[in-house]
């Protein structure tokens, strides 16, 4: 197992380097020279050269990339062009609310989705299945920002149960989490249902039935356990999605977070912040897949031996 772990972590290094190159290059693809944003109106070419030298922008691209990467590895994400504060501090401020929202949404999506998916699979093609699958269709097609606005309209404006926006206290988490979890539950339910139906048709299930094991035990202890493999894969991929895909929900509920910081800095052309946000999201995505692969290796000996 340790062998597998070391190999899997080492595999991340080239991916991280590739991602960092892409993120670094994005800054140079966006139209507009970053120096123009830093210059005061009416400055001459000397001031321009000075700023270029200060930020290392007069160096060739590979050298600039090296400087940037070296800083990132030491925890220096640069300084925001607009707020003039260290980017690491700004990221530190939003990462908490982002993780709270994403973590809660992920937990509720996985729990609710697995339960609903298992119920739907056991009542296949009967009314509980059809009811759940109808909800799944809605959950995967309603635009999340619209759902969020409707929830605000219903629960905050009409009923007054939860605050309209902001990130103070637990009550403000309820509606955003519900908005993200609605789509998340739909996804997990669909995957769980299909995986369970597929696992139930395997030979070993037939053997268990022949052995005389009660059907409920077979379903919960054997079929569900096998069906959880693809669910874990989807959930692990979802970790990055929940952090970054929450952009719209954070925007609608005016919550501080990685997504809303990214949108704001994109529109203000605050490139160091954009780079840092993207880097954080990329790291989250990579850690998510790593976590998923490790869980899979723990659950399935075939995965462990495949990498040997």
């Amino acid at each position: 197992m340790l062998d597998y772990l070391v190999r899997r972590v080492l595999l991340l290094l080239p991916v991280f380097l590739a991602v960092s190159v892409v993120i670094f290059l994005i800054l140079h693809l966006i139209p507009g020279d970053p120096i123009d944003n830093l210059l005061k109106v009416g400055s001459g070419p000397e001031a321009r050269a000075k700023i270029a030298a200060k930020y290392g922008l007069d160096q060739p691209l590979p050298v600039q990339y090296g400087i940037w990467l070296w800083g990132v590895l030491q925890g220096d994400l640069g300084t925001s062009i607009i707020t003039r504060r260290p980017v690491a501090v700004m990221i530190g401020q939003v990462i908490g609310p982002s993780l709270a929202l994403g973590g809660m949404a992920l937990a509720i999506s996985s729990l609710g989705g697995i339960v609903l998916g298992a119920v739907a699979a056991s009542f296949r093609d009967r009314w509980p299945d059809q009811l759940i699958m109808g909800g799944v269709l809605l959950g995967s097609t309603l635009p999340s920002f619209w759902l969020g606005l409707l929830l605000i309209l219903g629960f905050s404006v009409e009923l007054g149960w939860f605050p309209v926006s902001g990130a103070r206290g637990w009550a403000s988490l309820v509606l955003p989490v519900a908005t993200i979890a609605f789509g998340g539950i739909a996804l997990v339910t669909r995957v769980t249902r299909v995986a369970m139906i597929e696992a139930a048709s395997r030979d070993f299930v037939l053997l268990l039935h022949a052995k005389g094991l009660p059907p409920r035990r077979i379903r919960l202890a054997h079929v569900l356990r096998h069906a959880l493999m693809p669910v874990v894969t989807i959930l692990a991929l979802r970790i990055g999605w929940v952090l970054g895909g929450a952009v719209t929900v954070e925007y609608v509920f005016a919550r501080p977070g990685l997504g809303s910081l990214l949108i704001k800095s994109l529109s203000q052309h605050d490139y160091p912040v954009v780079q840092a946000c993207l880097l954080m999201l990329a790291i989250a995505v990579m850690l998510g897949t790593l976590l998923g692969d490790i869980t899979q290796a723990l659950m399935d000996p075939r995965v462990r031996s495949a990498l040997r």
Binding site: L137, W146, L150, V157, G240, G244, G245, V247, V252
Partner: protein
Amino acid sequence: MRAVLSALRTPKGGIAGLWLVLVALGAVLAPWLTSYAFDIQDLPSAYQGPSAAHWLGTDEFGRDLLTRILYGARVSLSVSGISIGVSVFAGMVLGAAAGLIGGAFDRAVTICVDLTWSFPEILIALILVAIIGPGIAGTMAAIAVAYLAQFTRLTRAQILAIKGETYVEAARSMGASNLFLLFRHLLPNALAPVLVAGMLATGDAIILEATLGFFGLGAQPPTPSWGAMMAAGSALLFKAPGIIVLPGVAVAVTVVAINLFGDALVRALDIKTRPREG
């Protein structure tokens, strides 16, 4: 074609298909269906509820909501349809090339696809719009690129799966060239699943277009798009909820219809939605 007809004959597929035809007709015939213009303001009649003159009421500038939803369908449907079309075409070319050529080219394509695949589409689209600039062209390019990975991956997996079939081996042993194999055997057999995936992705693209419009990055005013209408409505959430609810219903029902019809099509064609990864 036969599959489309048999999909239409199922109850769910039939209703969904009917709605899609209605929306498409409404979008194309919008100028003849309504006597109002989508961009002329009529301030005295702002914030009206549904009436005989305005079936769905009016917005904050007194413009007829039904008219704006019909014209909004033009933007939303054409933007998502065209961009997914481009994306499917480019994805098929890339995926087929990767699957057929193999080697270093295949590895390079796979790495790029996996990289974009692991980021949410909305983030990719947002970054691209930031590079290209807001507006309809930027939105279309962003949607096309955001879904490119999906179609490349699917086509490549299909090509790899079919490449090993006996009849392809037989054709190759008789001296068929790669290009002949591609157009005669591989692409025709890989086409159906990719097209169905494209149809289902059009639904997601409508939501993505609405989301970009909601951020103010899509079609610019006064051109109505469903997302831009909801963005305008969100500021008036407390005063006139109808302005935001109605375009949302249009988006939701259309996307549900696309999904139902796509599912019926999958059943009629008897294909697996998620083929084994190659």
